[in-house]
Symmetry: none
Subunit: 194 residues, 4 copies
DNA sequence: AATGAATGAGGTTTCATTCAT
DNA sequence: GATGAATGAAACCTCATTCAT
């Protein structure tokens, strides 16, 4: 009998962790609930105590990972630094997160390119990153340091590129280091700056 | 009794077309063979006459679409034009293909972010686009018109951005036109050029 | 609410029993899992909870029946009786088992003449009857009461004949009684004795 | 275009031969018509030109093999030889056939222990061996050279044993030679003779 | 005679979910 | 909270048979 709170195994967390691992390794279509239960060392029944359905479990996992990622990436952001430096830090943070959390990165990619990521869901889902990014680029344009261009283009030329590079690093087809990342930042900067 | 070739119902093609439509609309995990058969107006059995398994069907569909895309995108490419113009044309062709073939684009995205796209498969798969793109950027750097940078970075700053924009257009979150595309080309060009 | 153990429906046992009945009546190739499920009054799914596959189910059934048969046949065996008497008792017990368990007998015959009975399986399968029979005949030869002959020949001249006769009885082409069995024992004895 | 009769491939014979091979190797339940067609290098359709159904094909194969076996076994039978010698020759011939035709032997065993061998079929099937064997033993008893016993017992003590030994030889668990066979004949003879 | 594409019922197995304990 | 036996619809795939050519 456990006598301290910490001795209670947090089944909910174990289920989420296992789900992440299995989907990262085998994909949505090869991750049955039975495998999640077995790997988590819980019964199938208890999963339905914590999550209404498999879809709810996956959606919940997505939310938690996405929020954690946003928190991480924005952690050391400072309004004080010069604009390009702020871009550089975000760029690095984004890549760092993807590289340090390959399973999470893989899951996010799979999710966002699958039918789970339907419009209804994204409407309900409160993403705090998008408004931040919008204001980041709007601010740069208003300050006259960035070209006037569609925000979507600016995002892809910077963070979109960062994510693509991190994905290639995780796949093992491109070895990133600080220098290479900085060269990408510089090139992106050339694309964005007035 | 029809005697023309067009009267021959090409079941194999019908199956591939239906598979594309269903996966684009509903995703891998919601596209059973029974639905493909019904929608194609063929029996389930005949699918296995043309394709050894569901996986084979999906892999074959991927190959056919990818090859067609490559052919389309490279169709009007000309070595004669100045370098930036050649980039611009590829950029536009890529976007045009994605916009004119939203189902194919969607399928490619889903496939390439799913476990179907495992290393074993890509090793066997003969992609003719990658070598072309490599030589395109290597040439630009050797001519001194492009910055020296990792090819992967150059690719993302140009074609990666193009694809991302086309995807957003197809999702309805960004309305692309020639002018906007050209502004993206210009920004990419600033990123790449020496 | 029933509280006795007998109220617990032993689905595993029901599945095995039904499988035996159906295969005895209709053969391997006409005994689908769906029929086993329906006849056992269980869902198809639960069969796979107890048995990994149809083959596993059949193999398991074979093992259980074979072990039970061996136990039954050897039940009243006594080292005390004279040699011929011991032979006679084994002969009778074997026939009795086959006659009293026609479904089991039929299943064993079908199994042992089918590809299920491949060498790999028999190697793993621990048959306790074979070593017993070997020592039974070796002992008889060492005591000088039996002719020296290959064990396989001795086995067929006695127990092989017993089984064949029991099978014919079960098929209704030969009505066995104690007297007829004893006449077979006597003839077998003439074949074996020195 | 074939110009001689011998150039015409005898598809019917090829189908029967392939069926024999496949069933001997893989069993009834793993020998689909498609495999028979492929291995025979004919179309599936043509099988139905020669045989009304799969069951007909198998029944026909059984008949042909059984008749050939009977012809072979009885080939050198002579009423002239002394009784025990006649028994010995039949014994050897039976074993020789089984050993020289392992696929046929295997097929016969599988067939006769499967539901294909139902009473309706055996009633229609004109087996010329059974009447021969009956008269062989009846004659021996009438001549006073054999014990009076049920014919079924006599059959098993002689030919039943012979077949069992041949089967064991084919399975590789018992190496038969003339001497061993003769020792079995002698033992059987002791069982049968008055 | 011969082909082999085509059918579709039915085979084995999986899996999200429920529920008695 | 927790278990895991149980359900049954539905998944993928097979296969005997047919039929237009």
């Amino acid at each position: 009998m456990p006598t301290s709170a910490s001795a209670v195994p947090d089944k909910r967390a174990a289920i989420l962790e296992t789900t992440l691992e299995l989907i990262a390794a085998r994909g949505f279509h090869d991750t049955p609930m039975s495998a999640i239960a077995k790997e988590s060392k819980v019964s199938t029944g208890i999963i339905y105590h914590y999550f209404a359905s498999k879809d709810e479990l996956i959606l919940e996992l997505y939310k938690e990972i996405k929020y954690k990622m946003i928190r991480d990436v924005l952690a050391d952001y400072s309004e004080q630094a010069p604009y390009k430096e702020r871009l550089r830090r975000l760029y690095h943070q984004l890549i760092r997160y993807y590289i340090n959390h390959p399973k999470e990165a893989n899951f996010l990619e799979q999710f966002e390119h699958s039918p789970y990521n339907d419009p209804n869901f994204q409407e309900v889902f409160r993403d705090e990153l998008t408004p931040f990014i919008i204001s980041f680029f709007v601010q740069g344009m208003q300050e006259g340091v960035l070209k006037d261009m569609r925000l979507e283009i600016a995002v892809q030329l910077s963070f979109g590129v960062a994510i693509s590079l991190a994905k290639q690093h995780n796949r093992g087809v491109l070895e990133l280091d600080e220098e290479i990342i900085d060269s990408a930042v510089d090139a992106s900067w050339d694309a964005l700056k007035k």
